[in-house]
């Protein structure tokens, strides 16, 4: 009996190790992150409750344009969950190491994933142990002085295998308060804004290569013994550098994964189609550029379709919407905003001369409370 119990325990431990070490999907796309920071998605707080500090969050994506950028943001302040995650380039999978401070935000509010010009396919969480490290630089150690005057010259040969998605791990020691690191190309310019004086602590700092731009800068220097990267900063000693790469399995279990809202292809004349909540806290807005209004005339109409929010209604919220210019002023030129009470399924908006001029110059914003926006259509009088 004791033998069976022993075998069962060993099997359970083995299963647990395998089960916990796989890459787990927490959000399933596709979710298009379009132009100009207009789109984002909240990764719900529940996904972070079982995650531990040091685990890695990965965002797999496609359709990234040349200058695509992303951000992991605090849902209440809209700041990056850490300074280096406020804005960074995208050209492949990108990652974030979940620290204690990031997890304290994520477990309470979740994390906003935003940016522009790429499409999220899937977001996963992986155990840090599933990343293997290969050492590429093992000294000499370089002590960074507090006046930023010292830097380590790293030869191009160290980066020959580095690709988008990999992490560059700096092993550091003698870390002082306010220690900061700066990764530079051979011309002394920062490789990316996110590594231009980033705070470092503990015994290592890992920078994941999100896009090709920094790789291009390294390649410009050539390989071999020529200096390709300069690592500077203050208040720490650089001892060695490794390249970390993911090696674990991917779980196909999507039971608990969050699904991105369905995406629609816009028909001619449609400016929006989908499900955009305008909750009672006034956080719902939709911004439209001036582009679709360029050929508009005064007799054209905007049909704004909505579905009333029953929860908001029962809480006593009066559903209403207003059309503003891009500076949040009433688009008709009136001093006070014009509010359209919502008691049906759509609002038919007629442009006056002022509204038309503003729409064609800088676009419009739809704001309001107590409904879900489902469609906006521009109908030409012609």
């Amino acid at each position: 009996m004791r033998t069976y119990r022993y075998i069962f325990t060993v099997l359970l431990c083995t299963w647990s190790l395998v089960a916990l070490s796989v890459e787990r999907t927490i959000l399933l796309g596709p979710k298009t992150i379009g132009k100009a920071w207009r789109d984002n998605i909240l990764i719900e707080a529940r996904h972070f409750r079982e995650v531990k500090a040091g685990d890695i969050l990965t965002v797999y994506n496609d359709r990234a344009k040349g200058m695509a950028q992303a951000a992991f943001q605090h849902p209440k302040t809209w700041q990056g969950v850490a300074p280096e995650y406020g804005c960074f380039g995208v050209a492949g999978p990108f990652r974030m190491t979940l620290t204690d401070s990031i997890l304290s935000i994520a477990r309470t509010y979740g994390v906003i994933l935003g940016g522009h010009d790429y499409r999220i396919l899937r977001v996963t969480v992986t155990d840090a142990g599933d990343f293997q490290e290969t050492m590429v630089y093992e000294g000499p150690s370089v002590q960074m002085k507090n006046d930023w005057s010292v830097s380590a010259d790293i030869p191009g040969s160290c980066f020959e295998t580095l690709t988008v998605g990999d992490g560059l791990r700096l092993h550091i020691s003698r870390v002082e308060k306010d220690a900061a690191c700066k990764l530079m190309d051979f011309t002394w310019n920062a490789l990316a804004p996110s590594v231009d004086g980033v705070a470092v602590g503990g015994d290592s700092y890992t920078w994941y290569v999100y896009d090709r731009a920094p790789l291009l800068k390294l390649q410009l220097a050539g390989y071999g013994t020529r200096t390709a990267m300069r690592i500077g900063g203050r208040g720490y000693r650089l001892d060695s550098i490794g390249i970390v790469r993911q090696t674990g399995e991917v779980s196909e279990d999507l039971t608990d994964a969050q699904r991105a809202p369905r995406e629609y292809t816009l028909a001619p004349g449609e400016l929006f189609r989908g499900e955009r909540p305008f909750p009672a806290d006034w956080s719902g807005n939709l911004s439209l550029t001036a582009a679709p209004f360029q050929d508009c005339t005064e007799n054209d109409v905007l049909v704004i379709s909505y579905r009333l929010d029953t929860a908001a209604l029962s809480a006593g919220t009066k559903p209403q919407l207003s059309v503003r210019d891009n500076r949040w002023h009433e688009i008709t030129g009136a001093q006070e905003p014009v509010w359209y009470p919502l008691d049906g399924t759509d609002v038919v908006y007629l442009f006056n001369a002022t509204a038309l001029d503003k729409a064609k110059t800088r676009g419009v914003i739809i704001t309001g409370v107590g409904f879900t926006l489902t469609r906006i259509e521009l109908i030409s009088a012609q």
């Binding site: 920062a190 291009l216 001036a290 360029q294």
Partner: protein, 368 residues
């Protein structure tokens, strides 16, 4: 007789009506260069620009960052035509090999400029004037107190004993040297320094300057412009420059003055036909004796630039346009040109509304 009399009245009335709806002749505006010592090459280019103003626009691109004609090759590949104008940028003078042995480019080697000029192209120069950042290692144009920004003070242009004043001289003089070499080779230059000075300070409350030369407001900026004009024109005797000042709209108090500006430019990356037409008409009304140009343009973060035919149809009559470069496209890491790609340039070159390099060469030749 009575019928003849009636016929005469009808005839006179008809002629009167026709005369009434005839377009009234526009007052002839004479556009003059501010530098009366301008070289013959500048005067020929100026004659062409003035003659074509309102009829067609000169096509142009900016260099791929600094000292090359890389973007012109894109346009040629897409359309079979070279744009007429290539604008070089002195952004990396601190890394030019003639002033820094470890530099990675050489502004003193005029080959890219002379090749372009000899092929019939018009040469433009701009200057993202980078000065040492607060951290002491980087160079930047961005004002501010952060390590990567600069607190370089443009007001010090009035204080010859200051470090900033000495730095200004230290930087302007090499640039003057490159421009002087161009003058000696008979190359006229469309010169657009100290651009976008007002930043978005006039656009909304809380806006500010994007570059250090605008950080201390319009008076310091105008003093700096005049200082540069004096240093280049009077001290270095540079007479091969057409001076372009950039408006950020509603920034009349930043305008350096008719006596030191030839062309008023506008940079726009929300380049839709309707707002562009509004801005063109506003600038034309504010600066009636200056050519008005679209000094920088392209698709922006929010919208794709309207096709040139639409921009023109809406009523804009920019003297020239200059589209911005896409580093990633030129490096082969992006399939799509971020600012102005094949479709946009095909429309422009096939519109009959723009001047390419060959046509510009012919027009310049016709003035000789």
């Amino acid at each position: 007789m009575r019928n003849h009399f009636l016929l005469l009245i009808v005839l006179l009335w008809t002629v009167g009506c026709v005369r009434a709806v005839e377009p009234q002749p526009q007052p002839v505006v004479r556009y003059e260069l501010c530098n009366k010592q301008a070289t013959a090459e500048v005067q020929r280019l100026w004659t062409v620009l003035c003659a074509e103003y309102g009829k067609r626009a000169m096509s142009g691109v900016v260099a791929n960052v600094d000292w090359n004609t890389r973007e012109t090759e894109n346009v040629y590949q897409w359309t079979g035509h070279y744009p007429a104008l290539n604008v070089f940028d002195f952004i990396n003078i601190h890394a030019s090999r003639d002033v820094n042995k470890q530099g990675w480019l050489d502004y003193s080697d005029l080959t890219p400029v002379t090749n372009w000029h000899q092929a019939g192209g018009i040469v433009g120069c701009m200057w993202h004037w980078q000065v040492p950042a607060n951290n002491g290692t980087n160079y930047t144009c961005s004002p501010g107190s952060q390590p990567g920004e600069t607190s370089f003070d443009p007001e010090k242009v009035n204080d010859p004993s200051s470090a900033e004043y000495k730095r200004m001289i230290h930087d302007i003089d090499p640039v003057a040297g490159y421009l002087k070499k161009m003058q000696k080779r008979g190359i006229p230059v469309i010169w657009r320094p100290l651009h976008e000075a007002a930043g978005n300070s006039t656009e909304f409350e809380g806006g500010g300057a994007w570059f250090w030369w605008g950080a201390k407001g319009p008076e310091a900026y105008k003093a700096l412009w005049r200082f540069m004009y004096d240093r280049l024109v009077n001290y270095h005797k540079l007479n091969n420059l057409i001076w372009v000042w950039n408006s950020q709209m509603n920034d009349r108090d930043w305008y350096p003055g008719d006596d030191v500006v030839d062309v008023v430019g506008r940079d726009n990356y929300y380049a839709l036909q309707y707002p562009l037409a509004k801005e063109f008409k506003q600038l034309q009304a504010e600066y009636p004796n200056k050519l008005i140009t679209l000094a920088e343009c392209g698709s922006g973060d929010e919208v794709e630039m309207s096709l040139w035919t639409k921009i023109w149809q809406e009523g804009s009559r920019w003297s020239w346009f200059m589209t911005w470069y896409d580093y990633n496209y030129n490096a082969g890491t992006s399939d799509e040109h971020r600012f102005a790609g094949e479709q946009w340039w095909r429309d422009a070159m096939n519109s009959g509304l723009v001047i390419d390099r060959e046509e510009m060469k012919r027009l310049i030749e016709s003035t000789k």
